[in-house]
Amino acid sequence: MEQAKESYRRVLQDLLVVVTTLTLLIALWHLAATTFKKPYLPTPAQVLAELYWSLTGGVLVENTLITLRRVVTALLIALVLGLPSGLIASRTAVGRSLLRPIILATYPIPHVTLIPILFWILGVEWSKIAVIAIITYYPIALSTMEWATRAPREYEDLVKSMGGSRLHVIVYVVIPYIIPGLLTGLRIAVSTAYAVVFIAESFVLTGGLGAQIEYNWSRLDYPALYAYVITLSALGVLSYALIWALEKAYMRRLL
């Protein structure tokens, strides 16, 4: 009961800090906008009005959903490929000598430059998803690889002594052990995903928040541009916070 009260108090405190910081930032922004009076710096009220119109008109929701669908699909692909390949690269002899060097060697390549090639191979929509999936694959595969090699031997022995197979060791020891590392990898992947989705969506404009930013920038409609930037940033922050909360909840159970 005391513990629940304490954590409730801490959440309220954190919330208060966030609200105060945001209010201060908006006040500063308003001051700057009204002082300098530049077209590229609209007031918060102008941006808020634009956000309201885009929201009620349905454009904002429609484009947010397009972006979210692309990011979530790409992250799922990255997870489905990153987790097993990370496990194979660290837990099997063939993986260690073949797959691991390939993952490590291809990691530093600037994958975003692949968009034009992917465009010709996969078409407009899937090239956007593919480039996000490729870039987010690396933090997931690398953290899986790193953590899977560190899984404690005693727990593996315990499962083996129960007659457990290699698959049992993976399911009951390695995967639960790497979850915190995997979530950290996913947290890094998510922040990268929202940066990459902007580049991918502004390459060929077929909807999404990135396309809207690009479109409104070319029209010099700054309030609209800010509205979409804020929405994209909010998505990034919310996704990051969600995974961070998951990570904390899991760790609380173990430590």
């Binding site: 315990l158 083996k160 002594s161 129960m162 009951y172 159970r253 173990l254």
Partner: protein
């Protein structure tokens, strides 16, 4: 039931010294066996070999002449005896899941075992919320639920307070009524427990140098054995 160890030969890959070289011994059950010996003699290695965690270079470990199937042995290591990411219930259930036992029977056996070891109230907790003694009892419940004929425990009472030690020994004795229970320890006072058969492991390569009944009467033999054999390794 008899656990035969025949011609057991083992050394760690990175070492030149043989821990066991043509080691022969028999543990008869149901009974509580206490394996004593100096640090580093090979007590834990012996348990790991019986548990199938380590593979011998040569030799056999058999139960009544038949090969030792992995499910017939329960191993409780000194530390990390439970998986921290599974609840107490799931930890006890794990060997039954691995053995492919169906859900209803699994539930019955887990609840019965938790009850027998006095830890049913902790079923939904995670290992980090338990004391050292409670964790050991959950590990014993796991051995009980899996119906293993042989239960191996490595230093089960290390780091436990005197009351938890006594409680644990009580549970071990009840477990040994219909099982072969092998307890490894380097704490000689454990040998004073009634019902236990003491095996002194000494030397390099290790061998069983003395076997005698536990209890108060064992003290003088134990002191002599310590004087003679604990200097060897």
């Amino acid at each position: 039931m008899k656990l035969y160890i025949e011609d057991l030969t083992f050394k760690y890959a990175q070492s030149n010294t043989y821990i066991f070289d043509s080691f022969n011994h028999v543990f008869e059950g149901p009974r509580l066996h206490i394996i004593l010996g100096p640090n580093g003699v090979g007590k834990t290695t012996l348990l790991k070999l019986i548990a199938g965690i380590l593979n011998p270079l040569r030799g056999f470990i058999t139960l009544e002449g038949g090969s030792l199937s992995k499910g017939s042995v329960s191993y409780v290591p000194q530390d990390n005896e439970l998986l921290p990411w599974l609840s107490v219930y799931a930890n006890v259930e794990l060997p039954l899941r691995i053995a492919g036992i169906d859900g209803n029977e699994r539930r019955l056996r887990v609840v019965e075992a938790l009850k027998a070891m006095g830890v049913l109230g902790y079923a939904n907790r995670y290992p980090r919320h338990l004391s050292g003694g409670e964790r050991k009892r959950v590990a014993l419940a796991r051995a009980l639920a899996s119906n293993s004929k042989i239960v191996l425990l490595d230093e089960p009472t290390a780091n436990l307070d005197p009351r938890s030690r006594e409680l644990l020994w009580g549970y071990l004795r009840s477990l040994a009524r219909d099982r072969l229970v092998l307890v490894v320890t380097h704490d000689v006072s454990e040998a004073l427990h009634e019902d236990g058969l003491i095996h002194i492991l000494a030397g390099r390569p290790a061998r069983v140098v003395e076997v005698f009944e536990g209890g108060e009467g064992a003290w003088s033999r134990l002191r002599r054995a310590i004087d003679v054999y604990y200097k060897i390794s």
